[in-house]
């Protein structure tokens, strides 16, 4: 990608230490960083909580089928779309990492403020899933390959492949079997039974089906591979959507004569 004359001139100007141009550009950078952090946290968090939220809110929803399958699919969408402006246009392989970090911060603030301090649930019930490793791998693969197709296959797939392993160390103790009222359940179920979610009826609460428990660890593996397959497709689709949304351009302003600008020639006719 070659630079225009204006860009080359500016690049030279901002390379001069402490020049006015360098200071202005640095100010611009800081503003963009802060805007992005707030906006990405809000947008990614609302997207995530309304599409995979219940699995993420509650430890007894963190099953080996839907949680493992769905969460990476939802996770890959916005980072893939933002990969277009950030990596393809600006050369910054950070979309996944920034999104993951913003999501984790947003989730922890709300789990403490809303779920723990306001609704009085213990942290052991409401901790958010660990999402950063897969999203960082996504960035890494995009940086290495610099090719959207390969980034979709390896980077998109990595979001799903890393999800269950990244969460296993924290989730494993909750899957220890317990006998509760003569029924075999696990620790996560018992915590769920103890803290009733009055407005969420029992029939909506996810409890693993018996078949999943007789399959040993395979259900997690099968879910992970299926999720990785869908994530590969989703990464490419959403990268294209990011491309579309980043190149929308402009439309004529019918009101510009009110601010002293000349009307477009077509309109004047």
């Amino acid at each position: 990608m070659s630079l225009t004359a204006e860009e080359a001139k500016l690049l030279k100007a901002i390379s001069v230490p402490n020049s006015d141009a360098a200071k202005i550009v640095r100010n611009f950078d800081w503003i963009v960083v802060v805007v992005l952090l707030f906006a990405v946290t809000a947008a990614f968090h609302i997207h995530f909580m309304l599409t995979a939220g219940d699995w993420d809110f509650w430890v007894d929803w963190k099953d080996r089928m839907y949680w493992v399958t769905l969460t990476p699919m939802i996770l890959v969408i916005i980072p893939a779309a933002l990969s277009y402006p950030l990596m393809h246009k600006l050369g910054l392989p950070i979309a996944g990492t920034v999104c993951g970090l913003c999501l984790v911060i947003g989730e922890w603030v709300s789990r403490i403020s809303g779920f723990h301090l306001w609704a009085y649930f213990p942290y052991s019930l409401v901790w958010p899933a660990i999402v950063l490793p897969g999203l960082m791998l996504m960035d890494l693969f995009y940086m290495l390959f610099r090719n959207v197709f390969l980034a979709s296959v390896f980077g998109g797939g990595a979001v799903a492949m890393a999800f269950a392993p990244a969460n296993w160390p924290i989730l494993a103790p909750y899957h220890v079997p317990v006998v509760h009222i003569e029924q075999l359940v696990n620790v996560a179920d018992v915590i769920g039974y103890s803290f009733t979610r009055t407005a969420t009826p029992e029939y909506l609460r996810f409890i693993e089906r018996g078949t999943l428990r007789t399959f040993g660890g395979e259900s997690t593996l099968v879910s992970t591979f299926f999720s990785a397959f869908v994530c590969m497709i989703l990464f490419y689709m959403w990268w294209r959507i990011g491309q579309f949304l980043s190149n929308l351009g402009t439309i004529p302003n019918q009101l510009k004569t009110f601010v002293g600008l000349e009307a477009d020639k077509d309109e004047a006719k």
């Binding site: 204006e6 100010n27 809000a42 609302i46 779309a81 709300s110 306001w118 407005a199 302003n253």
Partner: protein, 258 residues
Amino acid sequence: MAAIEEEVLASQAAKPFKMNLKPMAVGLVILSIIFFTARWYQQWAAWEYGLDATNPDFDTYWMSVFWAQIIIEPIIFVALVGYLWLTRDKHLNNLTPRLELERLMLWLSCLVVYGFAFYFAGSIFAEGDASWHQTVVRDTSFTPSHIFVFYLCMPVYIIIGFSLFTYAITRIPFFAEKISIPLILVVCGPFMLLPTVGYNEWGHAFWLMEEYFTVPLHWGFVFFGWSIIALGGLLLQVMGYLVELLGKVTDEQGKLIK
């Protein structure tokens, strides 16, 4: 001779560029006070007076807050957007590049305030809504959670968003000459979350009283939340514009030209 030369050079030097961060700082302080007070009020009054909508205390402590918001917010919206339109620059064709740059940087700093407001709406108060409604059975659309997330947080960022849009098309030639579609999406997408509340409440009232957060009824919020992806497009547009402006106001050594 050398002293005279220095004086001449000093008189020719442009005033140093200083960003005006006051509006951003004032905005962040005001919003912090509003949102933290709202969150404190929830903690204080939600369990005590917010569980039963038929209780007179609910009217006293919650519906009064709701009505105050509904009256005050449109007034602030009209006042801010109207002020920005009425005091618009009517000679944008004569604007100096230096002033153009100052206005652009001021506008960008105010985007921080917009992002801050959107964060409270989309993250803290939105997920707080999940914690409340999955715990407490709803008997009204105007719950202690909704009164702040839908009727405080959302209107606040909508007011800021539309004010920033009006500022851009009335004071910054780049946005006044042609309207940026990513900018429209960044402002109007989050705005559409508020009309989506109508659909959401309608659905909850008539067919879905129980609560799980990933229910398709909530996906309208997700769809319009995606519009923030256009922020990337806006960033690219503004970067191109900044390159153009800096070329006009600085020399090859990066010094400001008078």
